[in-house]
C-alpha cells in the first residue's frame, strides 16, 4: 500500500514537471507573471498546432514567449500583445477566437445543432403522444367501424356461450 502510494506520488510529480516548458524570465511584479501565464496559455503555437505556446518546445514558441515577455516589460496591454501576434500569424494563434464572419459556424454551429436536436426530439415525443390523446381507432372509416363492432359483438356472444368449466378465458384474441 505504501509502495503504491509513493509510486502514485512519483507519477504525479513527473507529470507536473512535464506540463510546461521551462524558461527563466524575471517579471516586475506578480501581476505581470500572471498575465504572462494567461497569455502564453491562451495563444496557440503555429508550429505544433495542438499546443499552446506555454507548453510547446518548438523554437517558434520559445521566440514567441520571449516576444511576449519583452512586450510585457514594455508595458503593452494584453490586447496589444494579442493583436501583435494576430497581425503576424492570423486568428489561428488564438485559442479564444473572436466572433466574426469566418467563425460564425464555430461559435453558433453547436447551438444550431442543439436546437435541431431538441426540435427533432420534441417532434418525436409529440408524435408518439398524439394517438393516445385522441383515443384509439380514430382513423377507421365508417365501414371498418361497423365491422369492428360486429366482430366484438360476435366474440362476446361466443365467449358467454361456450364458457368452459376450467375458468380459463379462452378468447384472448
Amino acid at each position: 500500500m505504501k509502495r503504491l502510494l509513493s509510486a502514485a506520488l512519483l507519477g504525479l510529480t513527473l507529470s507536473l514537471g512535464a506540463q510546461a516548458a521551462i524558461d527563466t524570465y524575471e517579471f516586475n511584479d506578480e501581476a505581470a507573471r500572471a498575465r504572462y501565464r494567461t497569455l502564453t496559455e491562451e495563444l496557440r503555437c503555429p508550429k505544433c498546432q495542438n499546443q499552446n505556446i506555454a507548453d510547446s518546445d518548438a523554437p517558434i514558441a520559445m521566440d514567441l514567449r520571449r516576444e511576449i515577455h519583452r512586450m510585457l516589460g514594455e508595458g503593452k496591454s494584453d490586447e496589444e500583445i494579442v493583436d501583435f501576434l494576430v497581425a503576424r500569424y492570423g486568428d489561428f494563434v488564438r485559442y479564444n477566437p473572436p466572433v466574426n464572419a469566418r467563425t460564425w459556424l464555430l461559435w453558433y454551429g453547436p447551438w444550431v445543432l442543439l436546437a435541431t436536436g431538441l426540435g427533432v426530439l420534441t417532434l418525436i415525443v409529440l408524435r408518439r403522444r398524439r394517438p393516445s390523446a385522441s383515443g384509439p381507432g380514430t382513423d377507421l372509416s365508417a365501414e371498418e367501424r361497423a365491422r369492428l363492432d360486429q366482430l366484438l359483438k360476435s366474440s362476446v356472444h361466443k365467449n358467454s356461450a361456450d364458457k368452459s368449466p376450467t375458468d380459463h378465458p379462452k378468447a384472448d384474441q
Partner: protein, 177 residues
C-alpha cells in the same frame, strides 16, 4: 411531411460527409498568411556573405522575387536547395533569410551546396521571421517588384509546387512590369 423527416438522417450524414471529404484535402499546416498584400516588414540585419554590410527591405525591391527562409538545421531545406539552385540558374531572383542559424555553418552550406541567393540576410534571433509570420523553415514568400508579398508557400518547393503554384504567379508579376 413524414417522408421528409425520414430523410433527415440522410441529409445530416451527407452534410457531415461533405465536411469530412473536404477535410481530406486540407493541409493542416497551411494556416494562411496575414502578410499577403502587405509590404515586406522593415529590417536592418547583416548580410550573411558580408556581415559588415547591413541589409534592409529596400534591398529586396526592384524585381519580382522569391524570399526563401532557410537554415542549416532544417533537413527539408537541404532537400529544397537543389530546386532553388535550378530556379536561380533559370534567372529567377531568389533572396534568402537565414533563419535562427549559425553564420559560419550557413556560409559553409552555401560553399558546399551552391548559392542560389542574390542576397542573404542573417536573422539569428528570428526577429524578421516573427515579423514575417514565419513559424518554421523552409517558407517562401513571393514578392513583387515593390516588395509587396503576394504569396506564401510553407514547406519545400519542388518541381510540382513551382509549376503548379508559384511559376504562374511569378510569371504574372514578371509580365506586369
Amino acid at each position: 411531411m413524414k417522408r421528409a423527416i425520414l430523410l433527415l438522417p440522410l441529409v445530416g450524414f451527407l452534410v457531415l460527409a461533405g465536411f469530412l471529404y473536404k477535410g481530406l484535402f486540407l493541409d493542416p499546416r497551411d494556416i494562411g498568411s496575414t502578410m499577403i498584400g502587405k509590404p515586406l516588414p522593415e529590417f536592418a540585419l547583416p548580410s550573411l556573405e558580408n556581415p559588415t554590410r547591413n541589409l534592409s527591405a529596400a534591398d529586396f525591391k526592384g524585381k519580382p522575387a522569391l524570399v526563401n527562409v532557410w537554415a542549416t538545421w532544417c533537413p527539408t531545406c537541404r532537400a529544397e536547395h537543389a530546386m532553388l539552385n535550378q530556379l536561380a540558374s533559370q534567372g529567377v531572383v531568389v533572396y534568402g533569410v537565414n533563419y535562427k542559424d549559425n553564420g559560419d555553418a550557413a556560409r559553409k552550406w552555401l560553399n558546399d551546396l551552391g548559392n542560389p541567393y542574390r542576397l542573404n540576410v542573417e536573422d539569428p534571433q528570428g526577429s524578421l521571421g516573427i515579423n514575417l509570420g514565419v513559424y518554421g523553415a523552409p517558407e517562401t514568400f513571393l514578392i513583387d517588384k515593390d516588395g509587396v508579398i503576394r504569396h506564401k508557400y510553407v514547406g519545400a518547393i519542388d518541381e510540382r509546387v513551382w509549376r503548379e503554384q508559384l511559376a504562374p504567379l511569378y510569371q504574372e508579376l514578371v509580365d506586369a512590369r
